[in-house]
C-alpha cells in the first residue's frame, strides 16, 4: 500500500509537468486548430532561460521563473507572428509542417548556441524530505504540484472572468463572428500564444530544478507526451489537458512500478491510438461545438 502511495506521488510530480505543457498545446489548438509541435521546444528554451538566470545572474527560484515566463511568452508571440500568421489561411497540413520545422529550428538553433551537452541547474531549492508514514515527499514534488495547480487556476480565471478571456473563447468558437463583434482576432491569438508559451516556460524551469539536467533536445519527448495528454482530455479543453497530464503521468509510473519500465512510452502511445480510435474528442470533449 505504501509503495502504491509512493508511486502515486512519483506519478503526480511527473504528471504536473505534462499537464503544464499540455495546457499550452490545448489553448493553441482551441483557438487556431493548429497542433503547435514547437511547443515542447519553447519549454526547452524556458529551461535554458531559467538556467541562465540562476547560473549567470544568481537569481532565486521565483525570479528565475518569472524571467523565464516573460521571455518564453515573447518567444511564443514571435513564433506565431513570423511562422504561423502568414500561413493561417493555408491548408492544415501546411501549418503542421511549418510547426514541425519551427520545432527543428528551435532545437538545432539552440544546440548551435549552447552545445549538445547536458547542463545542470544550481541548487536553488535545497532538497528537503517529508515523511508521511513510509511515503517520502520531497519539497520539490510539493512545489511542482502547487505551481501547476496555481497556474491552472490563474488560467481558468483569465479565460472565464476577464475580457481577453472572453475574446479568446469567442475567437475559438467562431473567429469570423468574433471579428465582426469588434474583437481583434490577431491580438487574441497572440495573447493565447503568449499565455501558452509562458506555461511551457514554467514547466521548463520546474523540470530544470526538479531533475537538475537540461539539454537542447529535452523538449521532444515531453512535447509529444503533452500532446497525448491534451488528446486524452479532449484537445481544446483546458481542465481536460490538466486531467490528461496527471492521468498520463500516473499511468506511466504505474507501468514502471509493475516492472514494465521499458514499455512506458509504448503504453503512452497505445493510449493515444486508442483514444483517437474510440473517443477522438477526448474524455472532456463533449461540450465543444464542432465548427461546420
Amino acid at each position: 500500500m505504501e509503495q502504491v502511495l509512493q508511486q502515486l506521488v512519483n506519478g503526480i510530480s511527473l504528471g504536473s509537468i505534462y499537464a503544464l505543457i499540455a495546457l499550452g498545446y490545448t489553448m493553441v489548438y482551441g483557438i487556431i486548430n493548429l497542433i503547435n509541435f514547437a511547443h515542447g521546444d519553447i519549454y526547452m528554451i524556458g529551461a535554458y532561460v531559467g538556467f541562465a538566470a540562476t547560473t549567470f545572474f544568481g537569481l532565486g527560484f521565483i525570479p528565475a521563473l518569472i524571467v523565464s515566463m516573460i521571455i518564453t511568452a515573447v518567444l511564443g508571440v514571435v513564433v506565431e507572428k513570423v511562422a504561423y500568421k502568414p500561413i493561417r489561411k493555408s491548408t492544415r497540413i501546411a501549418a503542421l509542417i511549418t510547426a514541425i520545422s519551427v520545432s527543428l529550428f528551435l532545437e538545432y538553433g539552440m544546440m548551435y548556441f549552447v552545445k549538445a551537452e547536458t547542463r545542470t541547474f544550481p541548487e536553488v531549492l535545497p532538497s528537503k524530505n517529508f515523511r508521511l508514514g513510509n511515503v517520502i515527499l520531497n519539497n520539490k514534488d510539493v512545489y511542482i504540484v502547487i505551481v501547476t495547480v496555481v497556474m491552472m487556476l490563474i488560467l481558468q480565471y483569465i479565460i472565464h472572468k476577464t475580457k481577453i478571456g472572453m475574446a479568446m473563447r469567442a475567437a475559438s468558437m467562431d473567429s469570423e463572428a468574433a471579428q465582426l463583434m469588434g474583437i481583434s482576432v490577431d491580438n487574441t491569438i497572440s495573447v493565447t500564444f503568449a499565455l501558452g508559451s509562458c506555461l511551457a516556460g514554467v514547466a521548463g524551469v520546474l523540470v530544470g530544478v526538479y531533475y537538475n539536467s537540461i539539454d537542447p533536445l529535452m523538449g521532444m519527448m515531453p512535447g509529444i507526451k503533452a500532446f497525448i495528454a491534451a488528446v486524452i482530455g479532449g484537445i481544446g479543453v483546458i481542465p481536460g489537458a490538466m486531467f490528461g497530464g496527471y492521468l498520463l503521468g500516473i499511468t506511466e509510473t504505474m507501468v514502471s512500478a509493475a516492472g514494465y519500465s521499458l514499455y512506458k512510452d509504448a503504453v503512452a502511445f497505445a493510449i493515444l491510438i486508442l483514444m483517437l480510435l474510440i473517443k477522438p474528442k477526448g474524455l472532456f470533449g463533449k461540450n465543444v461545438r464542432e465548427k461546420v
Binding site: 509503495q3 532538497s127 506511466e252
Partner: protein, 392 residues
C-alpha cells in the same frame, strides 16, 4: 553555351586538383622507409558527444610523445603524431582510419576511445594490416570476433567489461558483505548490459541473490518509479552500470527517495559531470571500478601527475593516464620490433610482457587483452578517493 564552358572549366580545374592530391599522397609513401620520423595516427573523438574522452586521451598521448622525442625519439627517429577527428561517429572513425593508413601512411593507429567507434575502425585496420590499439574500448568483443578468433592487428590496453563486473561482484560480496543485490541497467547500452551479466554471474556464484533487476533507457530523466520498486525489496547494494549522465540523475533521485544502499558501478562514472548532476550529498557510498586514480601515491603516478600538471595546468583524469600509457606501450613495442614496420610492430605488441605503466603493469594475453590491475574508487561527498588496487 556559356554555362557549358563554365562547367567544363570547373571539371578541368577539379581534375587538376585531384591529380595534385594523389601525387601528394604518393610522395610520403616512397619516403617512409628512409624518413627520419615515425608516423603514428591518432583516430580520436575530438568533437561530438563523447569528445571529453578523445580530448583527454590525446592530451596524455601528446605528453608522452613529447617526452619520448625529447629523449631522442625511437630507433633514432622522431615520432610524428597525425591527429584526426572522428566526430564521435562510427562511420567517420572508419573514414579517418582509411585516411590515416592510405594517405598519411602511419605505421600504427592509436584510438578511437569508445568501443563502438573502435569497432567501426577495426575492418579498415585489419584490411590494410596496420596495428590499431585502443586504450579505452572496454567491450569484450573488440579484440576477438564473434567466432572467438583473435583479430590479429587489434589490441587494447584497458581491462574488459566482464572483468569490471567480476571485480565489483567480489567487492560487493566480500568487502561489503552484501547478500542481496539489485541491478539497474540501461537496456540501450551494450556496455551496461555486459557489466550487469558478469556481475550477476559472479555474485550468484559467491552465494548472493539478485533480488530485482530493473531497466531504463539512455536519455530517461525520471527514475523514481523503478527506484521505488528497488527500494521496496531492500537490497544490500545497487549495481548500476552506466554512463555518468543517467547515473548522476539516478543517484540523486535514489537518495531523495531514501534508497541509501551503496551504489556500485564501472568506469563510466569517471566524469566531473557526475558530481554536478547528482550533488555531493548523493555521492556517498558510491564505489566504482576504474583504470587509475589520481589519488594513487605510487612514485610513477606522482611523477606523471607532476609532468601533466606542468604541461596542462590541471590534474590528470583516468583517460589522460590511459593515453599516456598507450603512447609508451606503443613505444615499447616499436623498440622491440626494431623497425617501423606494421607487421613487426604487431608481433612485438602481441608479446608484450610486464610493461610498467601508470595504470598498472600489463601483460598482453593470447586474446590481445591486457592482464592488469584494476582500481576501486570510493566517492565521499562527491570526491573520488582511492580505495584499493585489485591485482587480477
Amino acid at each position: 553555351m556559356k554555362r557549358l564552358s563554365v562547367v567544363l572549366a570547373m571539371v578541368l580545374i577539379l581534375s587538376l586538383f585531384t591529380g595534385c592530391s594523389s601525387q601528394q599522397a604518393a610522395a610520403p609513401a616512397q619516403s617512409t622507409d628512409g624518413a627520419d620520423t615515425v608516423k603514428v595516427g591518432l583516430n580520436y573523438e575530438l568533437s561530438g558527444n563523447v569528445a571529453t574522452y578523445g580530448q583527454s586521451l590525446t592530451e596524455g598521448i601528446e605528453l608522452a610523445m613529447e617526452e619520448i622525442n625529447n629523449n631522442g625519439g625511437l630507433l633514432g627517429k622522431q615520432v610524428e603524431l597525425v591527429k584526426a577527428d572522428n566526430k564521435s561517429d562510427n562511420a567517420e572513425a572508419a573514414n579517418v582510419a582509411t585516411k590515416l593508413i592510405t594517405r598519411d601512411k602511419v605505421v600504427t593507429i592509436l584510438g578511437p576511445a569508445t568501443s563502438g567507434n573502435t569497432k567501426g575502425a577495426i575492418p579498415v585496420a585489419m584490411q590494410h594490416k596496420v596495428p590499431l590499439i585502443s586504450a579505452s574500448a572496454t567491450a569484450d568483443d573488440v579484440t576477438v570476433d564473434s567466432n572467438g578468433n583473435v583479430r590479429e592487428f587489434i589490441f587494447k590496453t584497458c581491462f574488459s567489461d566482464s572483468f569490471q563486473g567480476v571485480i565489483m561482484a567480489n567487492f560487493a560480496g566480500q568487502d561489503l558483505g552484501a547478500k542481496k543485490a539489485a541491478i539497474l541497467i540501461d537496456t540501450t547500452s551494450d556496455y551496461s548490459k555486459g557489466l550487469a551479466t558478469s556481475f550477476k554471474d559472479k555474485f550468484e556464484n559467491l552465494g548472493g541473490t539478485i533480488v530485482t533487476q530493473q531497466a531504463y533507457q539512455t536519455k530517461d530523466k525520471d527514475f523514481r518509479a523503478v527506484l521505488t520498486n528497488i527500494k521496496s525489496v531492500n537490497p544490500d547494494v545497487l549495481y548500476l552500470p552506466g554512463y555518468y549522465e543517467e547515473v548522476g540523475l539516478i543517484a540523486k533521485q535514489a537518495r531523495e527517495l531514501g534508497l541509501n544502499a551503496p551504489i556500485l558501478g564501472g568506469d563510466g562514472y569517471d566524469s566531473p559531470k557526475l558530481l554536478e548532476l547528482a550533488g555531493k550529498e548523493a555521492l556517498n557510498h558510491v564505489y566504482f571500478t576504474n583504470h587509475y586514480s589520481s589519488m594513487d601515491d605510487s612514485p610513477e603516478v606522482v611523477k606523471f601527475k607532476e609532468a601533466f600538471n606542468k604541461k596542462y595546468g590541471k590534474d590528470p583524469d583516468a583517460f589522460n593516464a590511459l593515453g599516456y600509457d598507450l603512447a609508451y606501450f606503443f613505444a615499447d613495442a616499436l623498440v622491440r620490433a626494431g623497425e617501423a614496420d606494421p607487421v613487426k610492430i604487431k608481433d612485438a605488441l602481441a608479446t608484450t610482457k610486464n610493461f610498467k605503466g601508470i595504470t598498472g603493469t600489463l601483460t598482453v594475453d593470447e586474446n590481445h587483452n591486457p592482464i592488469k590491475a584494476i582500481t576501486i574508487i570510493e566517492m565521499k561527498d562527491g570526491v573520488q578517493t582511492f580505495l584499493k588496487k585489485q591485482e587480477p
